[in-house]
Symmetry: D3
Subunit: 298 residues, 6 copies
Amino acid sequence: MILDHSIMQKAEVLIEALPYIQRFNRKTIVVKYGGSAMVDEELKKQVIQDVVLLKLVGFKPIIVHGGGKEISRWVEKTGMEPHFVNGLRVTDEATMEIAEMVLNRVNKSLVQLVNELGVKAVGISGKDGMMLKCQKRYSNGEDIGFVGDITAVDTQIINDLLEKDFLPIICPVGFDEDFKTYNINADDAACAIATAMEAEKLAFLTDVEGVYRDFQDKDSLISEMSIEEAQEFVSGGTLGGGMLPKLQNCIDAMNHGVSRVHIMDGRIPHCLLLEIFTNRGIGTAIVSPGEERFYHAE
Amino acid sequence: MILDHSIMQKAEVLIEALPYIQRFNRKTIVVKYGGSAMVDEELKKQVIQDVVLLKLVGFKPIIVHGGGKEISRWVEKTGMEPHFVNGLRVTDEATMEIAEMVLNRVNKSLVQLVNELGVKAVGISGKDGMMLKCQKRYSNGEDIGFVGDITAVDTQIINDLLEKDFLPIICPVGFDEDFKTYNINADDAACAIATAMEAEKLAFLTDVEGVYRDFQDKDSLISEMSIEEAQEFVSGGTLGGGMLPKLQNCIDAMNHGVSRVHIMDGRIPHCLLLEIFTNRGIGTAIVSPGEERFYHAE
Amino acid sequence: MILDHSIMQKAEVLIEALPYIQRFNRKTIVVKYGGSAMVDEELKKQVIQDVVLLKLVGFKPIIVHGGGKEISRWVEKTGMEPHFVNGLRVTDEATMEIAEMVLNRVNKSLVQLVNELGVKAVGISGKDGMMLKCQKRYSNGEDIGFVGDITAVDTQIINDLLEKDFLPIICPVGFDEDFKTYNINADDAACAIATAMEAEKLAFLTDVEGVYRDFQDKDSLISEMSIEEAQEFVSGGTLGGGMLPKLQNCIDAMNHGVSRVHIMDGRIPHCLLLEIFTNRGIGTAIVSPGEERFYHAE
Amino acid sequence: MILDHSIMQKAEVLIEALPYIQRFNRKTIVVKYGGSAMVDEELKKQVIQDVVLLKLVGFKPIIVHGGGKEISRWVEKTGMEPHFVNGLRVTDEATMEIAEMVLNRVNKSLVQLVNELGVKAVGISGKDGMMLKCQKRYSNGEDIGFVGDITAVDTQIINDLLEKDFLPIICPVGFDEDFKTYNINADDAACAIATAMEAEKLAFLTDVEGVYRDFQDKDSLISEMSIEEAQEFVSGGTLGGGMLPKLQNCIDAMNHGVSRVHIMDGRIPHCLLLEIFTNRGIGTAIVSPGEERFYHAE
Amino acid sequence: MILDHSIMQKAEVLIEALPYIQRFNRKTIVVKYGGSAMVDEELKKQVIQDVVLLKLVGFKPIIVHGGGKEISRWVEKTGMEPHFVNGLRVTDEATMEIAEMVLNRVNKSLVQLVNELGVKAVGISGKDGMMLKCQKRYSNGEDIGFVGDITAVDTQIINDLLEKDFLPIICPVGFDEDFKTYNINADDAACAIATAMEAEKLAFLTDVEGVYRDFQDKDSLISEMSIEEAQEFVSGGTLGGGMLPKLQNCIDAMNHGVSRVHIMDGRIPHCLLLEIFTNRGIGTAIVSPGEERFYHAE
Amino acid sequence: MILDHSIMQKAEVLIEALPYIQRFNRKTIVVKYGGSAMVDEELKKQVIQDVVLLKLVGFKPIIVHGGGKEISRWVEKTGMEPHFVNGLRVTDEATMEIAEMVLNRVNKSLVQLVNELGVKAVGISGKDGMMLKCQKRYSNGEDIGFVGDITAVDTQIINDLLEKDFLPIICPVGFDEDFKTYNINADDAACAIATAMEAEKLAFLTDVEGVYRDFQDKDSLISEMSIEEAQEFVSGGTLGGGMLPKLQNCIDAMNHGVSRVHIMDGRIPHCLLLEIFTNRGIGTAIVSPGEERFYHAE
């Protein structure tokens, strides 16, 4: 029996994954799931496959997701009038109501996709188990409605679900001390949860390739940087719009116990898998001081 | 120091509760929550207080709820055209989408109310932990869309949440073998869950006083009946509309391990508490053979 | 179905208890049981009901009791000659023998009363599990026999009984390093046990209403005081006889981890229950610094 | 270094004990403690040493004891008038009160002796943990007061104490369904407890050498017999007074799971130890069918 | 960032493995390791990599190995005279001594190779924890020395090592009731252990491609057969030498709870991995009745 | 029944053992087994009996053994040429191979002897569970081959075996960071393991009576010394050959948590037992500061 070349390569790929499986065994990995990877059905299926594989080989993945364009679609559908303050959409009570409905439905549809692959998921919001406590966020002092900043994370429900071998899928809705409902930025929620869980890794699925040294120059993608370098970028003011708060969030998370943050391009099929299981680095990694990069982008 | 009469009565009420607390200690109680008690804010608050008290004194309550009039309100709001088959509303994909959104939001608002009283609740649907498996229900052979009959209950997630001391709140959404989403009748879900959990008690909060011997005669309320008597009612065909399937469900549940079913009037403030903790029986109890009624309606 | 006024009040009383149940859930409460409440059969029954209710709603009560007038009765009955030193009764070997017999019998009769209400009690003395280690107490340097001061509390047996869901009932008999038997003041034993168990609450059932600001003026009952105030009372020297050492004991217990001490009138039916479950404060509470009183005497 | 003969013999004795230690490792052994061994201070000390050794080498001994002559001494001391029915002493309420006091004091003094050797004992009566449930015993139809026959043994408290590594010491006081207090024959209690615990061995410390084939002939001591032989003795009617019910009790215990019963002479120093740890059998053993005698009397 | 074709194939290989990882999660897999795969250093390394990967992704692999040609080499080296009975080598005491030495050294060298990949292995023989009890095997009634047939497997030590997350590596040396040492055929040992552990899978690494329908025709390799077909082969008498007892052993194992046996060619690099993680079947699988083949040879 | 003198002495011996059993209950005792006690079959049997008895009465013994004269015998048998450096035998690869084979076989034969007495042993080397990590030892800078110094002890496998009630038997083979195999001095291994396990006692079975104050004077045997005295001996330079490194090792072990080291004469039958269970001290004890000798040599 002669095995062809391709079948032997399969074995090599699996063997190549061995040290990575070992490295992250029983480690917590928070995946911020959003952007195109949440819209494109094929990409969505692949992200779920990746996370399920992480679970099956012994990691403890946690998905934190936003509602993407679904919220806007439903706000529109119900004919609500948008309000703006300082150019920011105001989350009034009616909008919050829709946002919560949509986020929870997205949540359950992700649960379903994971279940379909044979792994039991449980979808929760920040209200469940009193997980995400918030306070009102103001935009330059102006009231923008029910938008919250996380003030405390009660990890009990997450830890209990992980202990019982479920895959937790979390949507970023919280509550304040008067038990009012708040919308939370999904990036913020992912950072706060990764920090509270002392996650080994926090991975952002975004719609950019990673962080560029020069935003104009697509060849200047940084494959790895230290916290200090990341801090310089933030201070330097050369970073493009959405990346600035995300990077600051990452730095904060790493200063509070997260070992490694990864900003990767969710548009690449199986980006999560490739990043973790092969020696082909994807996107931009921010690494803790003293920890050499375990695998390198080519 | 002379204590007035009223303060001593307080003590008596608490002492009166003692044997009931003892009887249900660590027992599972499924509460089907619906009807007026879900609309009236004051009643809602009281139901939640009652369930929280049950939890705190050592019972294991589980809430199963429907979406009540909220689903209709949102269907209307989004301008959808209702379809009917045999006079029954068809749950097409769009309706199912709304129903799932609404049910999950109602779910989280109940979670919030429980949390507010200092007990940690976790809201889940039948998708979470692959809890409620369904198959399509047909109405006289006609397709009425995504309405499901439960074929299997995986109690793992419920048991795990109870073990970790959370109060589970469940909305009746399930999935079939193709992982499509289905709406489930909340009464059916409560019965199936009570049966699978081998609950000690299944309590229905309804908008009627209980079961009447003669539907016309409000004085003919039955405070207690055996399974056999309940079966006779069902067979006799004298029962009013909604009560028939509910009663059949109850009988089935009791034939599969539930010890006692209670149909009570959710419009009575603290009806759950009064039924369980005082010697004043409320509504209609169906009791297992050989088990004498522990407490009696006056 | 119209419910009368009284039945609704029952619900209110139960709901009123909710925050107190929550507050003491799984907390240890040491009840020093003595005085009239131990002689009057009706009061005795009520104290036991109260403690059983505390157990059933999730607290961890421990009863510490004395032998009251029973010891004197039996000393007399056996025709022993009393000896006195400095006006104090000397506990010679024969008296100690009777005291131990009587205390253990009282102990078992309390066990029986608790059992009767369906909760399993276990009665132990300070010898069991080597719980209460003592040294001889001298009265102004004079030997008064087998009266002991506790030098160490081995809480293993108490913790094990609580873990296994028994209600421990303890009589104050100890042993010294030569394994001789000693009588211990029940107040002292309760304080030492509450301290060693880091109890949340230590409640004394006494034959006075509480602590008076002015012993002569029955209107000067203090409903709450801080440790500092209690210390001032002790130092001030205005306190009546038995209260002085009791108060000093309480202060010591609170300085070693007990959160709250309560001196209440055991002659009030269900005083324990009323104190803990209603907003009607009974007797005098000494509270830890920085902890506001959770409920107030009216 | 030349070791003398005696020191080498010590090693041999210890090695000789090895198979017996192995055989009874983690097995339950109920010791009925009574008779002379309870009166003679030297014998008492030796019995306690033996039981403590059993505990330390991995057995699970349980002591069940009577009150011996102490009860009579105290009844006399308090000047009570004895009542008799059919020649049997009637246990009226006053006698029961004394008996309970005395038994509990004896119980605690045994606890103390065990403690003194560094092993933690816990003394309980049949009331503790609702262990020994009784019904009134009648003597030929006549009421003889509070003398009880055990109807149920709740082993929870015994198992819990053993699990927590305490040595349980039990005095034979029980309760009936009205929670009245009853005196129980200590032999009966030992048999009932050994049966309920499915003890490996039940050892009676008595004041006779064992069972004689011919009561008159001291050379006819039986070192081992089967259940059948024991039954024949009982039926044969040749047995002396106290031995008859004891033997019937033993047979019952063995028919309900106890593997071996041993009737031995408590007047022999360390009889328990010698019987269990050496190849020198002591007294009379009744063995289960099919089980050859593991060690033999010489 | 454009990813080349090869990197995407890596992801596909990992995703392809997903259902297999899921299927065998926490399942026990016994690997009989022998033949060329034990001699060739490169193959040896690959087998170990495969088993370590199985361990890391959640399986519970157990290695059972022989001594291969090493035993012969050492017998020769020490200049021993071989004895034969019926053409079979007799395992006299001196040979047994060498065999045990060699087997244990091979055992520890496999332990080392596993350790080197970061997974903790523990090497044991059938003597450890009294695992493999034997009786003497006779060859047509003739004594062939210390060759044993397994009569009982005590799985405690294997289960304990698996529970503590070690990878057990077992060499086939056993003991009889006189605690004499015996050599056991490694195939027999693997079958007995797989049976006792109720393994999901038993994989033989051999030096043949699998079972041929016609031993002469290399194209007649059978990729899958039922127990019945396997039994026919054994009865048919057309099977080549070593395969006959192996097949009979497999059938026995499957009749006692092993779900699937696999005879594969250990000379194929990563054959274990390919067989389990890809849809490319290798060698011959014998499957339980009613269980369709999960993956197919191409 | 009159018991003769000798039988009573048996009881006394067992009772004499009581405080020692108590003292070492659940304590870890490392026994370095070597010398004559490993060659003489009768002595060997007695050592194993002693260790098994220790296990059965609740201690946690661990055996660490060398290969004694067996290694030399096999080296000779295979006709290898010995190499020497500085007068020390060089452990080249071929010698290491034999040493490992022999040590593991000795290991399994000890396992067998323990098993035979009914206690389950598990034999492991320092490779198992990555227990003994080494680095190459040089003799005055010269390479003497695969002789290792322990740099780290991973106690997981030892603790797991003890937890599961096995008796661990360890042979001193280790591995370096390149996973090469090393021979370790058995005394060193015993010290390192006792230290890592924080053993209560470390006992060396040697071929000398103990430590002499004056090596020439057999009457100058020291029965007990402090760490300081031992240190003086080592520094003093008056100690005979093999004793010097052994003593230094002992001192190191005691400086790192071992409470007591015992050097005893393995040629005395049951020396271990006599030392531990009788008041007859054997050999030389080195005791921790402040700890008086618990038992004394006569």
